[in-house]
């Protein structure tokens, strides 16, 4: 009876439940209640972990399955274009993501250049200089908390309207997208760096001050190097968070099929927007547009993985050694 409507998922769930119950009962009989509870909870925790893994693995698998066929050397190194042949009246699309890769790197890079100094200095102020109950420190902390919750589309609208005022209508530019992303990135950087700086033991600051080292030198040469691994990880996570943002970039930098490496002039393409437009505004060859979107998605995932690897390697190199 149970096998009616057999599916792999149903079968797995059933097996898990039966296994857990059987394990619990058997354990009560053979061992004792305490060990039975231990086994049961262990089992539940493992199941919860596997459940949490399912969406992650399935997303990755889908992106790789759909995107892998799209990715080729020419896809990465050429600018996507559609050519109209007046003799046959057909439009041929050549897939390419170079404009989007370059755009993503430029926009994210500028956003990081703006956010990292501001975020890091804010966190240094909060941890090293502000008194615990000072109104300025509390205000900054409060505002950072509020900014963490800003929806990304609001940041995009902010940047777009800001640059509309400065530049005038059609103010699309990579730089305005960078500003939108900085609005999202700064609070993340402040939070992450603040946590890391607070982890540096006060003992080390005292040791340095007691040697007649100024406060500034103590921060630059003792506190920051001790926390550097965590700081880099935090900053990389913040970058990973904004690199996949679509809505604010779409608003502020629009989209384009043209190659544009100048962040201050004209629309700029990025990978997330390429993925979005591939589905939302496909070209004549709908299948090709969709495939291009999956390719962009996979490239984005690869980019994030590369950034994470770099962060890990750098963190490992700088991590304090010999701590016990």
């Amino acid at each position: 009876m149970l096998l009616i409507g057999f599916t792999v998922v149903g079968w797995l769930v059933l097996t898990a439940v039966v296994y857990l119950i059987a394990l619990g009962i058997l354990s009560v009989v053979v061992e004792n209640r305490r060990k039975a509870t231990d086994r049961l909870v262990r089992g539940l925790v493992t199941v919860a972990f596997l459940l949490a893994l399912i969406p992650l693995v399935s997303t990755l698998a889908t992106v790789i399955a759909q995107g892998a066929s799209q990715i080729s050397w020419s896809y990465i190194t050429s600018v996507g274009a559609s050519t109209f042949d007046p003799n046959t009246l057909t439009v041929t699309q050549t897939p390419g993501a170079l404009q989007a890769i370059v755009g993503t790197l430029i926009i994210t890079g500028i956003a990081a250049l703006i956010s990292v100094p501001i975020g890091l200095f804010t966190s240094i102020y909060l941890v090293e200089y502000a008194l615990p109950k000072q109104w300025l420190a509390r205000t900054v902390t409060f505002l950072v908390d509020v900014m963490t919750g800003i929806p990304s589309i609001v940041a995009g609208l902010f940047a777009f309207s800001l640059f509309s005022i400065i530049v005038g209508p059609k103010a699309f530019s990579g730089f305005s997208a960078s500003v939108a992303l900085s609005v999202l990135m700064i609070p993340t950087v402040v939070r992450a760096c603040e946590e890391m700086l607070r982890l540096v033991p006060g003992d080390l600051r005292e040791a340095s001050l007691a040697l007649g080292v100024s406060k500034f030198a103590t921060i630059v040469k003792i506190v920051l190097p001790t926390a550097i691994a965590g700081l880099i990880t935090g900053i990389m996570l913040a970058v990973a968070r904004i690199i996949g943002e679509t809505a604010p970039i779409f608003l502020a930098a629009s989209f384009t099929d043209n190659f544009n490496a100048n962040p201050f002039e004209g629309p700029m393409q990025t990978l997330p927007v390429l993925a979005y437009t591939g589905y939302a505004f496909p070209g004549k060859d709908i299948a090709a547009s969709n495939a291009s979107a999956w390719g962009a998605a996979l490239l984005l995932v690869i980019l994030v993985v590369i950034l994470n690897l770099i962060a890990r390697i750098v963190a490992k190199i700088f991590a304090p050694k010999g701590m016990r």
């Binding site: 008194l131 615990p132 033991p201 003992d203 080390l204 600051r205 005292e206 040791a207 340095s208 001050l209 007691a210 040697l211 007649g212 080292v213 100024s214 030198a217 103590t218 040469k221 003792i222 190097p225 001790t226 304090p320 050694k321 010999g322 701590m323 016990r324």
Partner: protein, 259 residues
């Protein structure tokens, strides 16, 4: 190198709270002075006012004078950073810098202040500092390894080496042995006796045997009750403090009849 410390009617405050009241004491050069007393009596707080380290805590300030060879540490024009180069400090918990090698830890005080050193000068200073802290023979083959890899007692001696490499006049020690085993403690106590030749040493300790072993003079601090300020009760030669104290409170404390 060694200098005289003279404290005149010093009050120490944390914001509005009076932590230590009315301390006057003279500490001679080339002596070891021990501060003893129950927990919370303000002896560590007072020690930290001798190199202005208490100012690290927001709201801490003092009234009164601390003279080192006649110069008041609390004159308005005095930079606390420069004070701390003259008056070094060793803490309860060994705190070598985790990002630095043993060698760099010894030279930290100079390097962090951007003093340029040739490699030969650096090597000399490292050897001198580590020999001064009785650590040279144990670590001379692994100077480039991280300081955090040493044992607790070795780390504490590394911190002493670090403190004496900036060549201070006075060395303050805040319970330097309280986290160490008896053998490491003995090593540090021997070291204190040697360092006395060159430095004025002030040590806070909870261990009265230690105070009687290493110090020439002893100051007993006490507190009347929680929330009350700590006071200097008696200051005399160590033998008198432990042998024939003049104050009843001191006698109760050193004979273990306290409280």
């Amino acid at each position: 190198m060694s200098k005289r410390i003279e404290v005149n009617d010093l009050n120490v405050y944390y914001s509005d709270f009076l932590a230590v009241e009315g301390v006057s004491i003279t500490i001679e050069p080339r002596t070891v002075t021990a501060f003893i007393g129950p927990s919370g009596c303000g002896k560590s707080t007072f020690l930290r006012t001798l190199n202005r380290m208490h100012e690290v805590i927001p709201g801490a300030h003092v009234k009164g004078e601390v003279l080192i060879d006649g110069n008041n540490l609390y004159d308005p024009g005095v930079d606390p950073v420069l004070v701390r180069r003259q008056v070094g400090m060793v803490f309860q918990r060994a705190n070598p810098f985790p990002t630095m090698s043993i060698r760099d830890n010894v030279l930290a005080g100079l390097k962090l202040n951007n003093r340029r050193l040739s490699k030969a000068d650096g090597d000399d200073l490292v050897e001198k500092g580590l020999r001064g802290a009785n650590l040279w023979n144990e670590v001379k083959d692994r100077l480039s390894l991280p300081g955090g890899g040493l044992s607790g007692g070795q780390q504490q001696r590394l911190c002493i080496a670090r403190a004496i490499t900036v060549s201070p006049d006075v060395l303050l020690m805040d319970e330097p042995c309280s986290a160490l085993d008896p053998i490491s403690t003995l090593a540090i106590e021997d070291l204190i006796t040697e360092l006395k030749e060159d430095y004025t040493i002030v040590i806070v300790t909870h261990n009265m045997q230690q105070a009687s072993r290493v110090s020439d003079r002893t100051a007993f601090f006490n507190i009347a009750g929680t929330g009350k300020p700590g006071k200097l009760i008696e200051y005399n030669d160590t033998t008198s403090i432990f042998g024939s104290p003049t104050m009843k409170e001191t006698e109760d404390y050193v004979s273990g009849r306290f409280g």
